[in-house]
């Protein structure tokens, strides 16, 4: 099955990004595909490479990037939401790209299921 995932909260403040990441990992491990993860609202902060959590905690920005590299998952940060929050190419983490909201609609059309994580 083809899944599209929307992440609506930034890392750490809420568990939404952790849950979305774990869902994505489980999905590919079960042989399904995550065709895209779209980051909206404060979710765009997941693509900030300046995020530096303490060494003994998980680094969600890095984990997303590793997922993208290992399983060819397309990580898209919404440009309008990103610019509002200061997320630009200069600070975009590996594995992410910045694009328009149309990519969210397109993902929902191409996926068998669209899942939303976060408020």
């Amino acid at each position: 099955m083809k899944f599209g995932i929307i992440v609506n909260e930034g890392p750490f403040t809420h568990q939404a990004s952790d849950s979305a990441y774990r869902f994505a990992v489980a999905t590919v491990e079960k042989g399904h595909r995550v065709i895209r993860v779209f980051f909206y609202y404060d979710g765009v902060n997941n693509g900030n490479k300046l995020s530096s959590p303490q060494a003994d905690d998980r680094n969600l920005v890095k984990l997303w990037g590793e997922l993208a590299a290992e399983h060819k998952v397309d990580l898209v940060v919404c440009v309008t939401a990103a610019l509002r929050r200061g997320i630009k190419e200069e600070i975009l983490a590996d594995g992410f790209r910045i694009s328009g909201l149309g990519q969210l609609i397109e993902m929902s059309l191409a996926a068998d299921r669209t899942l939303v994580f976060g408020d």
Binding site: I6, L104, I105, E106
Partner: protein, 143 residues
Amino acid sequence: MAEDQPVEFDTQGVKKRFMFVNRRAPYGSIYALEILEMVLISAAFEQHAAIVFIDDGVFQIKKGQDTKSLGIKNFSPTYGVVEMEKQDAEEDDDMDMVWRIIVEKESMEARGLSADDLIVGVEVLGADALSALMDAQDVVLSG
């Protein structure tokens, strides 16, 4: 991202039912504004859409919003664009796109509002009918 991953999908001819669920007051958080941006983008894809206002979300389309003292932009006139898109779709026989603007009856009445207090024309649906409609959607997005 790996280079061989397609980032454009072939969605030609795909038609889905989208529901946008507005649950929050317009200015206490950014959700109302950013979900509105989603709604407007979806118009370009000519998809079916139900734009729903429940809970404090009904305040998003209340007449007479004045945000001057908040220092936040009053974006409520943009809901007029949503209504325009809806009417355009209705009038264009070649366009297979149905948009509905829906307010949940219970939420509206609990806030002392009626359809006359709202800046756009709405369908008023009870919670049960809305629940059934939600169940019939392909994609539900909320904010």
